[in-house]
């Protein structure tokens, strides 16, 4: 009805970008956590 300058695709692409960034970001955190846990075990085991 209105000649608005909002393009719906900006919102759709924004939403999918946010989703992927969150998922990938959290996966990276999980990777770091797993590595850190293994390193921690190695350090405690005296094998640094």
């Amino acid at each position: 009805m209105f000649e608005t300058d909002v393009n719906v695709w900006n919102y759709v692409i924004g939403a999918y970008a946010v989703s992927w960034l969150t998922v990938i970001g959290y996966t990276l955190r999980l990777w770091v956590l797993n590595r850190r846990a293994s390193r921690f075990a190695a350090e405690l085991g005296g094998d640094v």
């Binding site: 909002v6 719906v8 695709w9 919102y11 759709v12 924004g14 939403a15 999918y16 946010v18 989703s19 969150t22 998922v23 959290y26 996966t27 999980l30 990777w31 956590l33 797993n34 850190r36 846990a37 293994s38 390193r39 921690f40 075990a41 190695a42 350090e43 405690l44 085991g45 005296g46 094998d47 640094v48």
Partner: protein, 239 residues
């Protein structure tokens, strides 16, 4: 120290690696599927596609908090370490998905409603749920003694998860700006199918991230326990 060495060299289970790969492909595939099969909806145009990430993210968050509730009860009942670790993992994963749900809802809200945020019961109760579980994670990080931490966070987790049904039903109990849940009767068939496909893909992702989070927590805790054991036995320990 053999156990610690073995623990540090432990490989991630094959099924978990496989599941993660499948989950990522499934999510990407489901989104492509959603884009190809769903026409622009009347009124909503293509903004309707935000539904395929927003709704599955919300489902995942609810599921994760139900896992927290269940694992916390099991912990208080059986006092098993595994249940505590599972509750911790599910709480973090649930908080991440709740945060994602809020972000995506905000984007959708700006387009469809005209505001990024409004004090509607659904939005507010979801934000409260998010804050409660951030508090839960803070409680865990501020408490050192493992047993005390487990007991306390089980209490907080159960209290917090009591909010899940309130959030879910808020759109039906109260007058809100947020629409009530859609069902196959209110959606065209192509949208229902695409939403279900995306939901299943997200569910795989949920199981995968839970698995990884649990694995990290388990190794960490096991290493601490083995180390403590070694000290108690008076063995030579390098730190």
């Amino acid at each position: 120290m053999q156990e610690l060495k073995a623990l540090s060299e432990e490989r991630a289970p094959k099924w978990l690696i496989g599941l993660t790969a499948i989950a990522f492909m499934a999510v990407a595939g489901a989104q492509v599927f959603g884009f190809i099969t769903s026409p622009a909806a009347e009124q909503y145009q293509h903004s309707q596609k935000i539904m395929y990430v927003h709704v599955p993210a919300a489902w995942n968050a609810f599921l994760a908090f139900i896992v927290v509730f269940w694992a916390s009860l099991v912990y208080l009942w059986k006092r098993s370490e595994g249940a505590d670790l599972l509750a911790e993992s599910a709480a973090e994963v649930g908080a991440v998905f709740t945060g994602l749900t809020l972000l995506l809802g905000s984007i959708w809200g700006k387009w469809a409603w005209g505001v990024w945020w409004t004090w509607d019961p659904r939005l507010t109760s979801t934000a409260v749920l998010f804050i409660i579980f951030v508090g839960y994670l803070a409680l865990r990080s501020f408490t050192e003694d493992p047993e005390r931490r487990a007991t306390w966070s089980a209490g907080v987790g159960i209290f917090g998860a009591l909010n899940v049904p309130i959030v879910y039903m808020s759109v039906r109990w109260w007058r809100t700006l947020h629409q009530v849940q859609s069902s196959p009767e209110t959606m065209s068939a192509e949208y229902v199918t695409a939403l279900r496909v995306n939901g299943i893909a997200f569910l795989l992702l949920l199981v995968a991230v839970l698995g990884w989070r649990y694995r990290a927590a388990r190794i960490q805790r096991r290493a601490e326990a083995l180390h403590e054991e070694a000290i108690l036995e008076g063995r030579q320990v390098h730190v």
